[in-house]
């Protein structure tokens, strides 16, 4: 009914006013709109590319003098010395000004970044996968959705709050009640001896790693949960009908079915862990010049150092300290990019399909 009136109306309009000028104007407007959208679309698609390129170029330009002066020892020395800042003797090496005695080796920061992320992954990956499987396959739908809400809330807690909890409550608790027992009883064999020694005061590698794991569990778990939900029922029933246990079905059918996606989820979490600044800065104990000798000692990461040291770096009138911070940032960026590329390669090896998530940086 309404359709026929519309048709009749349109026919009447064209019949009564064939004004070609109006038609042309309308066509031009439509063309303009289409053009605008094409340009807007193209520009939006370019923005991520440009942003990444811009950040890389700026960092490279900023860091380049530091890269030249600091050289290779930046990667294997454990020194953090901005030079004599009181009687400010400015030295020029190869055209780059810096304070006399300035010497930087970022091994503790690089090692700290990798170690905290490793601890976080070792804890978060099994917990997240287990949680995802339980949520999807065991819990009643209503309970599962409530837990899902909590997972998402946990993911949304500002890292400064997690850091505060880690520094005030969690760190001291494990340092007083848990780590002394472990430190005393761990056998003195390779790898495990890393858990021996002074249990510290609650600020350090273990606390930072644990806090990080709590921050990435919701990311990895909720992504994995969504993936596990997508596994069709048919192959799972096939496994159950074959007399496999739930655990065998999960390990051999459900998880491999979405293996590539889980790698992506883990990389997403790893990206967060590598770059997390605030929570680590608040719980690491800030040790710029030593690679942690056991799992309880104070340490720092690249991100935490960039944040905590930047104020001091600005006091260096030659600007060399800031350039070194930029070099540090570049190292972090290369690590995260390398992790992402490695993950893509791994995913392709696992499945031959594209990575569903690639926003690890």
């Amino acid at each position: 009914m309404s359709f026929s009136t519309q048709v009749a109306g349109a026919a009447g309009e064209t019949g009564s006013s064939p004004s070609p000028r109006r038609l042309a104007a309308r066509a031009r407007a439509a063309l303009r709109r289409a053009e605008v959208f094409r340009w807007l679309g193209g520009a939006s698609a370019l923005i991520p590319v440009l942003a990444l390129g811009f950040i890389l170029v700026v960092l490279l330009v900023e860091a380049f003098p530091a890269i030249r002066i600091n050289g290779l020892h930046f990667f294997y020395k454990s020194v953090w010395n901005e030079g004599a800042s009181y009687n400010a003797q400015i030295v020029r090496t190869g055209g780059v000004e810096h304070l006399s005695g300035a010497y930087y080796g970022a091994l503790p920061e690089i090692a700290g970044t990798l170690l905290t992320s490793l601890i976080a992954l070792i804890i978060a990956v099994p917990v997240s996968i287990g949680a995802a499987l339980v949520i999807v396959e065991r819990l009643p739908r209503r309970v599962a959705s409530v837990i899902g809400v909590f997972l998402e809330l946990l993911a949304g807690i500002p890292s400064v709050i997690v850091g505060l909890w880690g520094a005030l409550t969690f760190g001291p608790f494990i340092a007083h009640h848990i780590t002394p027992v472990i430190a005393r009883n761990m056998p003195d064999v390779p790898v495990l001896s890393y858990f021996r020694g002074a249990p510290g005061n609650g600020e350090g590698l273990l606390t930072s790693g644990l806090v990080l794991s709590i921050m990435i569990i919701p990311i990895v778990a909720s992504t994995t949960r969504d993936l596990v939900r997508q596994v069709p029922i048919l192959p799972r029933e096939g496994a159950i009908a074959l007399g496999m246990s739930d655990a065998q079905c999960a390990r051999r059918v459900t998880l491999p079915w979405v293996g590539a996606g889980i790698v992506g989820a883990v990389v997403l979490g790893l990206g967060r862990a590598l770059g997390e600044t605030m929570a680590v800065a608040m719980t690491c104990g800030v040790q710029l010049t030593a690679v942690p000798g056991n799992i309880y000692t104070t340490m720092t990461t690249i991100a935490a150092t960039i944040f905590q040291y930047l104020d001091t770096a600005f006091l260096d009138g030659t600007g060399f300290a800031v350039r070194t911070v930029a070099e540090l940032a570049l190292v972090l960026m290369v690590i995260t990019l390398a992790v992402n590329i490695a993950a893509r390669w791994l995913v392709r090896k696992v499945s031959g399909t594209a990575l569903p998530v690639g926003r690890g940086v």
Partner: protein
């Protein structure tokens, strides 16, 4: 499966039905002690939530025979089939009265281990469902899970059972490949090989050819014929001609009731029940 009441389901289907079901009850007790009987359902009433799918079903399934389960959509064929290896137990709202006996022992007896039960009663599904692993691993997956074969013996197992289903020639050079590159019929044969590799006594086939082309269907049907009498086969089918081709015995279900159970030819040519006669003549379903 939905636990909601299905409005399309007639209300009468839920209620207990006398007459024919009572006749079946008479056959059940002696059937349970008969050595010829592999599986027996006695007074099996089963449903999900408020919906009753099976009402007082009593059937016995001959050992070493191929038995077809026929009936119109919604008659409870698949539900009955899935009850035999307890695949329904965890569906939401599941409730049950009555019993199913395997070799005279209840499949819900506390001494029955459900994973071992499912090894003894294998299953093939409507659509092929290979696992996300290589063809060889697929065949050996169940056998590995039940520790029937060592890692080193996997290739032998794969060869034996792929040969048994006539797939060996086609896949012997790509045992490490993904099964998802095989055709639908080949995938279903692979799933059959996988089911056979755990040495089941009973095999449940849930419309195994409904997603396959005629050639693959014929291959599966011929295989099913060769499985008996070593394996007791129960095949759910929508296709009456298929039941005639493969089944020694046929059970006709309608609206959750067991209507008739007998020799296939007898049931199709001289059905004892008017309902059966109407169904096999194609007047409903």
């Amino acid at each position: 499966m939905s636990t909601q009441a299905d409005p399309a389901q007639p209300a009468e289907a839920a209620g207990p039905v006398g007459g024919r079901a009572d006749q079946a009850v008479v056959t059940a007790p002696h059937a349970a002690t008969d050595g010829q009987v592999a599986l027996t359902a006695t007074g099996l009433t089963l449903g999900f939530g408020t919906r009753t799918i099976l009402s007082d079903v009593c059937v016995d399934v001959r050992r070493g025979a191929v038995t077809a389960l026929i009936g119109p959509t919604g008659s409870g064929k698949t539900t009955l089939l899935r009850t035999f290896n307890r695949m329904n137990d965890k569906v939401g709202g599941y409730h049950r009265k009555g019993d199913v006996l395997l070799d005279g022992r209840s499949i819900w007896h506390p001494g029955v281990e459900v994973m071992e039960l499912r090894r003894r009663i294998g299953m093939l599904f409507q659509r092929p469902n290979p696992f996300p692993m290589s063809i060889m691993d697929n065949v050996a997956a169940g056998a590995r899970a039940h520790r029937l074969v060592s890692k080193a013996g996997m290739k032998d197992v794969a060869e034996r059972y792929l040969t048994a289903v006539g797939l060996w020639g086609a896949v012997k050079d790509r045992l490490k490949d993904s099964p998802f590159r095989l055709s639908g019929g080949q995938q279903q044969l692979l799933c059959l090989a996988r089911a056979l590799a755990v040495k089941p006594e009973v095999l449940l086939l849930d419309e195994p050819t409904s997603s396959l082309d005629p050639g693959a269907t014929q291959a599966i049907e011929e295989l099913v014929r060769t499985l008996a009498p070593d394996i007791t086969v129960i095949i759910v089918t929508h296709n009456l001609a298929q039941a005639l081709r493969v089944a020694d015995r046929t059970i006709f279900l309608n609206q959750g009731r067991m209507v008739e159970n007998g020799e296939t030819r007898q049931l199709f040519e001289h059905p004892a029940e008017e309902e059966t006669a109407q169904y096999v003549a194609g007047r409903f379903g």
